[in-house]
Amino acid sequence: MLIQPEARPMTKKILLVDDAMMIVMLEKKILAKEGFELITAKDGQEALEKVASEQPDLVVMDVNMPRLTGLEACARLRQDDATRGLPVILVTTKGQECDLEAGYRSGCSDYVTKPIDSVELVTKVRGLLGL
């Protein structure tokens, strides 16, 4: 007897970008429970390289990072036809001076604030992935 394997949706790949390893670990812990494939980068420059090589479905990226900030990296993604539509969630710090408008004008899709709320992050990720 032949048993057909169940059709399973493709796992979505998410790139987590932050120079603070603790934040990346926290995001990993939250999103791994949802079954996403997770890859990481430690700054905006590495994020651009990972986007090109790994082609993630969504990026969760800190704003303040060395070499290339989240805003700059997001703006560069929007300038490239191949990544113009890639959903990007920026991670800002609550209470810290951050220009939300600058984030949106750089082309980000949405944002979350630190300390990261797991429900908020998962809801926004799933919403942007159409899940």
Partner: protein, 164 residues
Amino acid sequence: LASSLELPAMPRHTAPGVRLPVLPGQITVCLDSTVLSTVLGSCVAVCVWDSKLQIGGMSHFLLPHHLGRRHGEPGRFGELAVSILIERMTEFGSRAGHLQAKLFGGAALSGTSQARALGTRNVEVARQALAARGIPVVSEEVGGERGRKLIFATDDGEAWVCWI
């Protein structure tokens, strides 16, 4: 206006009962029974429903105004997004007198006063754009300090919101 601007992909016809996410910057109008969903922080969703044709659409915008530099994504800016949404509804046969709107989002999630004011400004722009076209806002769930998940049924104009 709409024809001269590059718009995100907009499904015009969908199968009955389809669920469709509306992403930030998107404007979606559906002729068939469709459940539109989105997630909002300081962004605003304008849901417009035609009581006669029983069709509806949603715009999810992030900022009140464009600054004259980027026109590639008009759906990201409130004044343009509402204009395009209404124009799309009109293309499908709607008349302003049959349209009604619901507003959602505009929360103050971030700590700074400037960032907190963004949601308020988004809501205000949506109200002004709708008022300028004589479209009444029949219900709204705006402001606050938490994000929202929104579901909007295009066949009967019903909307559901939950906090996230």
